[in-house]
Amino acid sequence: MGSWRITLRFAWRNLWRNHRRTLIMLAAIVVGTWAMIFMTALMRGMVDEMVQDGVSVLPGHVQIHHPDYRDDPTVVNRIAPPTGDLLEVLNRPEVVAWTTRVRVPAVISSERDTRGVTLIGTDPEGEQAISFVADDLVEGRFLESRHDKGVVVGRKLVERLETDLGKRVVIMSQDGENEIADRGFRIVGIFESKLDQYEEGFVFAAEGTVQELLGMGDEISEIAILGTDYRNVEDLDRMVAQAAGPEMEVLPWQELDAYLGSMLAVMDGFVFVWIVVVFLALSFGLVNTLVMAVFERVREIGLMLALGMTPKNILSQVVLESILLLAIGLAFGNLLAWASIEPLKDGIDVSVVGEGMEYFGAASVLYPALYLKDIILANVTVIVLGFLASLSPAWRASRYDPVEAITKV
């Protein structure tokens, strides 16, 4: 125990013998650590926001469809509303909310213009618990019942169609018999979304009204289910799939939106690669510093060996010196990262390139997301790899022959 305290004291004092060198190296480690954590927080924030928006816009965490629906999303591929086992599972506590929808391609026309859209027949009560529309309503009201005769459309679509709240639009779609069904609707609400494509692409009507229009009885296109955590949907997926049986397709959001799903997966890889790359750039300087520190103390090391210190002592001294250096650097680096992210918590406005961010599927405000697991990953990587990098100079120092080392000029 005593020998460890001495080793620690030696390492600490050696570190500050050449304080200029140590400070420069420290600065490099601080900058490196800061960059690891700051950059990671920005990227995480962007992807989180994208996924949350994406999930809240429509999919829910898990969806049930007719097996052919995803390839051919029409009224033909419909399913019966949940009953029996499935209904029982949907009402379990693991399910935060669920809703049924009719979701079909349609054409919407005002007196002035025509657009292709996705028509969504929703159950207003269930929908409000899951998706964004009800919250982002800026004018008018949301649908009130399953048989409401109105529609809720996006702000952008209203502009495109040159129509307005209270005006009538005609919606055309294919019914169950492959005939074109159409019907006039009054616009009762207008919503806004962070992404233009949603404002332009989705039209919400009441489920019952759409079912009647398309002659589909009480059948539906999809069931959307919201679990507790979007990162962890496998259990929910399995549970629902078991209850739904083989005639229905049950898929988690990662598979429903391959882009978002792969984005989240790629991020984990990217964070790790970024941390390792920064560390490698640092490691050359770190090894160099240690090599120099050992080299200028050759005689002294020889003397210590001659006085009876074991090579193991020398080895741990040098390694400890490196670990101390890294630990101090990490401490300040983490602090700096936290201090620079904290004031940005309210979001960074990147609307200068807003339309570009929309290309990525991201909104134009970035919220950095500081994750404990990323901070731990960065710190552990630096300490572990730093330990490995310092082994070589430490090993050399411990292998000196005392007589040769002492007499070295």
Binding site: N18, R20, R21, I24, A28, V31, G32, A35, M39, M43, D71, D72, V76, P105, A106, V107, E111, R112, D113, T114, R115, G116, V117, R160, E162, M172, S173, Q174, N178, I180, A258, Y259, S262, M263, A265, V266, G269, W274, V277, V278, L280, A281, L282, F284, G285, V287, N288, V291, M292, E296, V352, V353, G354, E355, G356, M357, E358, Y359, F360, G361
Partner: protein, 409 residues
Amino acid sequence: MSIGFRLAWRNLWRRKRRTWLTVGAMVFSNILLVFMISLQVGMYAMMISNTLRAQTAHLQVQAPGYKDDFKIRQVVPAIETLAAEIRQGLETDQVAARAGAFALASSADRSYGIQITGVEPEYEARVSSLPGQIQEGRFLGDMMAPEIVIGSTLARNLKVGVGDELTILGSGRDGSMAAAVVGIVGVFESGMPDLDRGFAEVPLGYFQDTFTMEGAGHAIAILAPSLMQVGAFQTRVEGLLPPNADLAVHDWDALLPGLKQAIQADFASAWFMYAILIVLVAFSVLNTQLMSVLERTKEFGIIMSLGVTPRRLGRLVLLETALMGFVGLLLGMALGAVLILWLHQHGFSYPGMEEMAGKFNLPSRIYPELSVVGLFVGPTIVLFSSVVAALYPALRLRWMEPVQAMRAA
């Protein structure tokens, strides 16, 4: 070879290990920068050209406001005559007139809302890559024929193929009902989900008849010989328009603001990472050169008392750094070039890229090209910032007292 140069070169190799470690840091960052920048430049070029070649082209002549609203009333009158005039004025065939509308396309089994574009069969292939991506059947031929080519996903969704008929239902320029029955002559696969899912082309003359366009159209797409010449072409096209016509010429950046901004956003985040790498290398160089100056205090003292000016010694230190940087530059560029050439043969991909690439009109494997920009930019900046980092140790020499320095232990 001047004495200064020889001195610097020899000094560099007095501590081989240290020099190699510092050079190693440079080589590491240089290879990484060559790789990343080459990949980036290649991807941006591909994103731009794939996206522009598909539909947008470099320039479009439109009625003011059409690019934002896409209203069928916002027309370019007598569009074929104007297109012919522009063709003549620019002395190029890469000019094609178009008209567009939303419509409901129905087959025997299915109906989907799609974007229909009327094109000049003779010229469309010269500005757009779509006619070359016909997978089945052929592209349009006669200006007035009731023919249509549709995207592959749309064909699958409508359950139709070449030889089948489609019913088109939309509203004409004057608000009247536009209806037509057209024969499918070709199916294209562009690899861009939006186009493949909801896009179709018919001959311009037939489009004008069906949608009561009275000879008008919506856009004249123009391809300049290269991206660099777009600005010059824009000015020339503006000069060719009839003096009192209410028309606007938009370049691709105005037509697709998202594309350039996406590149800018990606560019900014990439340069943040590069800057961190470069700063870390600079710290490494600073540390090495400071040590190398400090350990030569005695030697420098002697040289100074022999009459060498501090200025000259400073230059020596900078020259040493520059030489070191140069070795790093050459090695980094050579190894980076080898890496790029290898990837050029074998392609580069990472897990998850396939899902993401499609969103940006990129192939799922990237074959980077060796370019001057990719090869030189990164390493040159590393070399430059290394020399800047060595300024501090070099300038320190100014305050060195020869007598004191000689006595230094």
